[in-house]
Subunit: 333 residues, 2 copies
DNA sequence: TTGTACGCGTTATCAC
DNA sequence: GTGATAACGCGTACAA
């Protein structure tokens, strides 16, 4: 058996409540007693039982985080931000991944709710799309990342996908491109609106540029890099001079395919990504992209969640600005 | 207040212990009662209080994982394996990062131990090096990844760094290289032996190749990619024809620097990495590397840890084989 | 300044 | 087949 405050109390010849107070530095206990008991606790190898404390206090000082996969560099940066903010606030972090399986995702959320986490951070669109109603019923303070949904205890941190994509596309237009394609990612929940696609479309329309079905490529693949790689043929067939990828991983895959098939970037094709992954500046050519402050978004989401926990009524959802980063993969036509 | 089994008991007109049994599908309760109570629980929005259960049972079905940073793709793959195995076994996962700060790392471990996690997975050399003694005293079943240390409740999963590095270097030697350099990573805990460096040295000695101080490069930088990037000058100065990098991230940084400075790989310089990151095959040229099965190592570590939890005495530390993957970044001289 | 009594939600034990 | 009771470790209200 592990040492409890009762064991210490017995050894010290005091009541267990005195031990409890001494260990929690309650000033009501004399400095002498406090010191003696703390020394005793150390000597006896006492480790506070946080489970008991959580049970008693009805709080866990734990945050639950749900995401699709931790190996996606975009998401792992967000996790880093969440972990940092949680640690700074003295919270521990449960991390679970759903691998795009809505059922698993909801099972995770039920599990975390049974564990009585104080707050939830969700970086995935599946739950809120498919199980939005159930999520609201959970009653746990929740912050969604990159999915705008609100309720009594639910807030979000997101970017403006449509506007950002529009700006990205406008940049390509300003460079003189007139035939600009779009590469999609995997399938999304039904009912999901691909706002980056919408932004791209609007930019084309506003500039009076052509816009036919051939411009949109929906490649297959088990991850975004592979999808990008598999998109090259269709991209070349569509005779575009510039291509806007749904995200950086797709763009990186496309760049690799370009290299392998002798398509020069940006000479033959300008490539624009989205996300601002660290890797985007670690390759050759470096990737032009629309950057999201990933770690910051994670930190912010966490702080908002903890504010919700404290019952502050003025916690407001936030839309974060993105930033265009022009690099080598795009050129003036 | 949330619904408890007592609330359900009151509503059902039975004792709360009957409710407990019905919800846990205890066959001693009549099918009719069980069904009635489960329906009632659903209707009343009952969410089992796992904190109370953990408190009562003295187990948490939670694993604590400690690592330096989640943004390192090598580590994030390991986390993926751990998370998968934990999920499959019905365990939840605490994830904490230390950012190479031994104090923070030890603080995390104390925290996890206070939370009474059933097991610990540690993917970092700092704790075991600096706080090995304290770690042993924690008494929680623990599995270390890539750091060989054993004790009553501590096991490890690792590769043979020395042998793997020796094989990697031998491969370069077989390709005809006679002057082969080594790029180190960041500083390690004092007392830490860099076995990859040792393996490289042994291979050179065994082949009767020169081995002077200039061959070992210790670049500065805030992460491994930057270190690799900063290593180019010293590497070129040392007049090697092949370079063995401590890990893939360093190799990737070096490849970028090579591209930027017109050093052709593998024509002018053969580059070998270590780890087998996914990214290593996503760039141009693809990187020759010594691959570790990252996700598998995480899964294995988790299963071993859970076996330790179950008190199986026959849980043995494991050394996993690595695999040389020859790609485009190395060439025959 | 310290001690006593009690309860948090659940499950195990024993009695009916 | 079901109910009553106790116990897990801790913190707090109240008493001394």
């Amino acid at each position: 058996m592990r040492t409890t405050i009762k064991d210490i109390a017995k050894a010290a010849g005091v009541a267990h409540t005195t031990v409890s107070r001494a260990l929690n530095r309650d000033p009501v206990i004399s400095a002498k007693t406090t010191k003696r008991i703390q020394a005793l606790a150390r000597d006896m190898g006492y480790v506070p039982n946080v489970v008991a404390r959580n049970f008693r206090s009805n709080r866990t000082k734990a945050i639950g985080m749900v995401l699709t996969t931790i190996t996606d560099p975009f998401l792992s940066r967000i996790v880093e931000g969440v972990e940092q903010a949680a640690y700074d606030a003295g919270y521990s972090l449960f991390v679970s991944t759903s691998h795009e399986d809505p059922k698993r995702e909801m099972a995770i959320i039920r599990e975390l709710s049974q564990r009585r986490v104080d707050a939830l951070i969700i970086a995935s669109m599946w739950v809120s799309s498919v199980y939005g109603g159930e999520l609201k019923r959970i009653r746990i303070p929740t912050v969604l990342i990159n999915h705008a949904m609100e309720a009594h205890n639910i807030r979000y941190v997101t970017i403006d996908d449509c506007k950002s994509a529009l700006e990205a596309t406008n940049y390509l237009i300003e460079l003189g491109h007139t035939r600009i394609g779009f590469v999609k990612s995997s399938d999304r929940p039904s009912g999901y609106v691909n706002n980056r696609l919408v932004g791209w479309e609007r930019a084309l329309k506003a500039a009076g540029l052509p816009h036919d079905d051939q411009l949109v490529v929906s490649p297959e693949g088990h991850n975004d890099f592979e999808r990008g790689r598999g998109a090259l043929q269709a991209v070349m067939d569509s005779k575009v001079t510039a291509i806007f990828c749904y995200n950086d991983l797709i763009a990186l895959g496309l760049l690799k395919a370009c290299h392998d098939h002798g398509v020069r970037v940006p000479t033959d094709l300008s490539v624009m990504g989205f996300d601002g992954l660290e890797q985007a500046q670690q390759i050759a050519p470096t990737l032009t992209t629309m950057s999201q402050p990933q770690a910051y978004m994670g930190q912010l989401a966490t702080k908002m969640a903890l504010n919700l926990v404290q019952g502050r009524e003025k916690v407001e959802s936030i839309e974060i600005p993105t930033q265009l980063i022009a690099r080598e993969s795009t050129r003036k036509l």
